[in-house]
Symmetry: C2
Subunit: 370 residues, 2 copies
């Protein structure tokens, strides 16, 4: 892991010597993490991602069964304790970790965050924060009351290419941003061949599936790139496949207006060919990320009459975000995207689903949470 | 002009020996066209485009001034008569042409179509058909009553690459279509440095500017590609630049649901960097046209695990559509996109602008016009 990636070509006017870990303070110490929820993302993406980090290590695994948790202890050298969810709530081996990483079904995030806050542990919670905006707000309150850091897992915000794109926008390379166009789809039933999976169960996923799980990427990435917040939402959603009968958004298209005057329009589907892109069109140029939201290595930049494509080394996005989290926990510096930031997305999601249900434009009063 | 373009690579399962002029009947004769409205599009795009066509020639120029019309007579060998608009309405030299091509500000289309119909001439009308759906409906009525052919100028529908894309969709290459994502923007004031131009004047442009002029491309191209019709619309529109104070959509984002279950979402702006693309995502793959709506030469196809990009020779889109028009006028075969087809778009545009104004989802009763 280096702290710098060199684009193979460069737009002369911008950003020589770009250091993407501009947040790094390299503090002393190590953040010991309890991993809560041992699904494929934690097993295959997170555990490998943090195994080589300087300031972060997994020391505890928390799962539904003793066997599953013990399996992580057996397989991963740094992990010394396996707990059931009940044992975690009882505060067992609380001295063995400094922070928790919550990667369970959405509707369980709050209870683990609350216990972690009670135990004085820093919280890294996967996106979306919770099943509903109310529960996300409760998480914010719990962490604020306990004065523990809360990071929401938007790995795009520590993705070097995305951070570089934000610098280009800040430098005026595309002029004034005008509109954003995004799409994010996958074939959920090919990934998990189970129509009863939690992402299709409103009790566990929350408002729905496609926008909650996939549409949140263009929303949050645009917020990050434009440093803007959502003010209103429109949406069209449909479900026709049997497996999607309990959620409204097998397919969705939604529009989010932002407080800087930019308009995002995007589609998301959990039952379509895997496709991702994000385009930001400005008065003087545009940026195109494709693929976006995962594995991005190419950033196409049009500015005035010129078009170039920057190629980035692919980084491990989970390594980046965990390195950032550990840095912030150790340094005590302000953490972002924090709980309030994540809560704004939850309010946007609520608005989008309400818009999808009612057919009306739903205004957001984001100022009230900020 | 050949009748065939050979993609440099091919997706094995589809469309060997694709002939994009599959509509061609090669009838005897020539259609003599009166060009109505001698702006830059007619002068620079249309006159060169039809100069070499076998079955079509421009014989009359109709403009606001005798001088401008006479200028075309002087410059273009086949054009023998220059008329003012009044002279055209008076039926002067009506024996010198068989058809009219209407390329005036939107709100004038109807009067020329009505006169042409009265004179028994075939009508080729630029898109959008008119300033309002009501006026477009009147054009349909006038042409039906006079029993003259009416073609609406959607040059995408005779664009070889777009027609090929439709064949791929028909062949199931992307599975069942799920969603479409489009964008179409340009900097109108850089093209015409005049804030009083007709595209910014609601009396002449109609409901607005960006969706009328640019957003119509993703709408109509998706209709053509999916062989589907719009059933509802949502929209967000804003204008802040002084030149756009009389039109609602300096910037727009809109969503159109189609009767096949597909959802299109798109942005259009008349005050942004020129950018165009259209993506059709299906259950098994996707098609990407970029650039789209003008000068397209690349079609990216993802199907299952494969991705290929077909490269097409660039054709003159106006040559194609005029060749088609002449073929249909001479053969007497059914013409499409016809006036009813164009009227559906006008109803979609009306719905989009109403949605933009009210914030509500506007349902379309397309069946009633079909």
């Amino acid at each position: 892991m280096t702290n710098k990636t060199e684009p193979t070509v460069g737009l002369g006017r911008t950003l020589e010597g770009y250091e993407y870990r501009d947040w790094e303070t390299d503090p002393d110490g190590t953040v010991r993490v309890a991993l809560i929820g041992i699904g494929w993302w934690t097993s295959e993406m997170v555990i490998p991602a943090i195994s080589d980090l300087e300031h972060c290590e997994a020391t505890v695994a928390v799962s539904s069964s003793t066997e599953k948790a013990q399996g992580v202890v057996d397989d991963v050298e740094s992990v010394e304790h396996g707990l059931t969810y009940d044992e975690f709530h009882d505060g067992e081996v609380a001295d063995a970790y400094d922070a928790v990483y919550i990667c369970t079904p959405n509707a369980y995030h709050l209870e683990y965050a609350e216990t972690a806050a009670d135990l004085g542990k820093a919280v890294f919670c996967e996106k979306p924060m919770e099943a509903t905006a109310e529960r996300a707000a409760a998480m914010v309150d719990a962490c604020e009351e306990a004065d523990v850091p809360l990071l929401v897992g938007y790995r795009m915000q520590t993705e070097p290419l995305v951070r570089y794109a934000r610098e280009l926008i800040r430098a005026g390379v595309i002029g004034e941003p005008v509109s954003a166009i995004g799409n994010n789809s996958q074939t959920l039933l090919d990934i998990f061949d189970d129509p009863t999976q939690w992402r299709l169960d409103p009790e566990l996923t929350g408002y729905g599936t496609s926008v909650m799980d996939l549409g949140i990427y263009p929303i949050n990435t645009v917020r990050f790139l434009l440093e803007a917040d959502p003010v209103s939402a429109q949406a069209t959603m449909t479900s026709s496949h049997d497996a999607f009968e309990d959620v409204p958004d097998e397919r969705s298209a939604f529009t989010v207006a932002f407080d800087d005057g930019t308009i995002l329009t995007a589609t998301s589907s959990q039952n379509a060919h895997a496709s991702t892109s994000l385009r930001i069109v400005g008065t003087e140029g545009e940026l195109l990320l494709e693929p976006a939201f995962h594995m991005e290595t190419e950033l196409r930049i049009e500015s005035g009459g010129d078009t170039i494509t920057l190629e980035f080394e692919q980084v491990d996005q989970m390594s980046e975000v965990f390195a950032y989290f550990a840095d912030r926990v150790l340094s005590g510096d302000e953490i972002e995207p924090d709980g309030v930031h994540g809560l704004v997305d939850m309010e946007a999601l609520r608005a989008i689903y309400e818009a999808g249900e009612t057919g009306e434009t739903i205004e957001l009063d984001v100022e009230s949470y900020l």
